[in-house]
Symmetry: C2
Subunit: 343 residues, 2 copies
């Protein structure tokens, strides 16, 4: 079986993914799977397409030395994302560019285009699954292609796949989790005695928080992840506006200290539950957890989700929620799962 991949977006995540792809080349061959990268397109770093496959070492060396892949020696250059999807011979598109949480663009258009051209699609941006998961699933079904998006929630820590494969028939009722590493990193520093502003500044200095930290500290990043998990695992079709959202902005040292005196710790908890009448209750908000609560000891930028199930009670998974290799690995496992489904 031959899989020809077009990668849209060659930033940190895209480069993490191709490194893993190169490292797993031998193993893929041993499985009898012919997986090659045929196109890379990035709005800033240039693009290149070769129907016979690209050399990943050459691409990474170009990035290292020239910060662009436009000088790749043996391929068609200059295709934008849409042209790469439409005109390359790829049969699988990895979307690792960027997206706006209000419109989902440009990732959403890339996803629709890929599916309409009967190409399998792996997404790493929250935009498309937050705004249009049900539409994309139906489109994928109608076009007989596979759609995966594991990297949009906990990067490569199994979350959607854990829920959809291992826990699918466990009687899943809901989940509670720490889905935003930046705000958890800030709360961890505050536990160590820093105030909010100093903790935020350090999160920015260390690359966890953006210059505008709104999406993280006001809870919107976690809110989007709640929509994706809820619509993927709880057989629902909720929208962002249906998830109550409060962030950690404005939390004070006094808040931290008074929780400590009760033997508790503040965490930004994202949750959703299907209640008895069938409706979904979903929220992101700071909660005081007892120190013995499984989520209370999740520190730093680590993420965690507790799934509540009928047969198993609570099952919790904890791991990284971001990063080049973790998100690159999410893409890689999505591709392996697609191979297993289509072969």
């Amino acid at each position: 079986m031959e899989l020809r991949i077009a990668l849209i977006g060659f930033g940190v995540v895209g480069q993490g993914f191709v490194r893993i792809l190169a490292q797993q080349e031998e193993w893929l061959k041993e499985q009898g799977w012919d997986v090659k990268l045929v196109a890379v397109s990035d709005i800033q770093k240039g693009s290149v397409y070769n129907p016979d496959g690209l050399n990943i070492d050459t691409l990474l060396n170009l990035m290292l030395n020239e910060k662009t892949i436009a000088g790749y020696p043996d391929g068609v250059i200059g295709f934008d994302g849409t042209k790469t999807i439409s005109e390359s011979n790829a049969n699988l598109v990895v979307e690792a560019s960027w997206s706006n949480l209000e419109t989902g663009e440009p990732a959403l258009s890339y996803a629709r285009r890929a599916i309409e051209m009967s190409k399998h699609i792996v997404l790493t941006n929250k935009g498309p699954p937050v705004l249009a998961l049900c539409e994309l699933k139906k489109l994928a079904q109608d076009n007989s292609v596979e759609l995966r998006y594991e990297g949009t929630v906990l990067s490569g820590t199994p979350a959607i796949n854990l829920g959809q494969l291992n826990l699918s028939q466990s009687g899943l009722r809901g989940f509670r989790g720490i889905l935003n590493g930046t705000s958890n990193f800030i709360l961890t520093l505050m536990e160590e005695g820093q105030d909010y502003d100093a903790a935020l500044k350090r999160a920015q200095d260390e690359g966890y928080a953006e210059a505008d930290p709104t999406a993280d500290v006001d809870g919107h990043d976690a809110q989007g992840k709640v929509v994706i998990l809820t619509n993927s695992l709880l057989n629902a079709d909720i929208r962002l506006s249906e998830v109550h959202c409060e962030g950690i902005r404005g939390m004070s040292k006094d808040d931290i200290e008074s929780a400590r005196k009760e033997g508790k710790r503040w965490k930004l908890i994202a949750s959703a539950e299907r209640i008895d009448d069938g409706t979904i209750i979903a929220s992101v908000k700071p909660e005081k957890l007892s120190l013995n609560h499984p989520l209370a000891s999740v520190m730093g930028a680590t993420n965690s989700i507790t799934f509540s199930t009928e047969y198993l009670g609570d099952v919790t998974i904890t791991g990284p929620g971001a990063g080049a290799f973790p998100t690159g690995y999410a893409i890689f496992t999505d591709i392996l799962d697609i191979i297993r489904c289509i072969k």
Copy 2:
């Protein structure tokens, strides 16, 4: 596709499994899968075989009212385990009887017989995979059948499947975990101020510990699970005797108290790691963990494993490690995985 199941062993786990099977009947039909229970054989509770399928409600009512299934109205009664495997029309055998960790019997003979008769096999007893995993895997391959044993480690909490599916290419180097719920329950009571003897007695009263608690408190149960995980996930073939083993017997209130003064907590940690020269270092022993360590907040009878990987760093899963429904669900997910592989 028709799956005809023979169940060997109708104790707590076997009954938990058939309850789940009955509850999932509609869903299985919706998937287009014809899954029926054709035989149950238990050395104490009797046995019954009907090639067209058994009624699960009738079986459970018989157990409730008569403590035996020998009075089942419509089937062949009296087959022992071996005869059930050999002479029923089952094409999948669930082994949920019992086994001796020194010989693996009778479960090991049942497993070999099922595979030699070209029947898929799901195991819930540690004996066979601890003593003969590589042999059974090869036998299964030679006979073109599937072998699964998720329930032998953390019951239905994804452990082997998590390692073999989701984390298979993550660069797994080793694992550390709390793999024995009874000893963790005892340590939790000791954290609350009880001494070892009182905590053990309560574990026995509540059904967590056997009258002879040796397998749990001396670490042998966890030692067997280390062998299964190591040989399943780290491409190894180690034996029980290669896993250094110390239990929690003899721990004192002073031990607990002195750890507390250091901001730490004792846990019985089971671990294995492939070190740089390729050898495996594996052990079960009490370790003092910092309270911020992810395994330190795993309390009561809950189990947990932290997998150390190259691409993701640490990924931890926490959930139940025993029980009728959790282990029944492990069997059910193993069967679903077999269906996905063979269809």
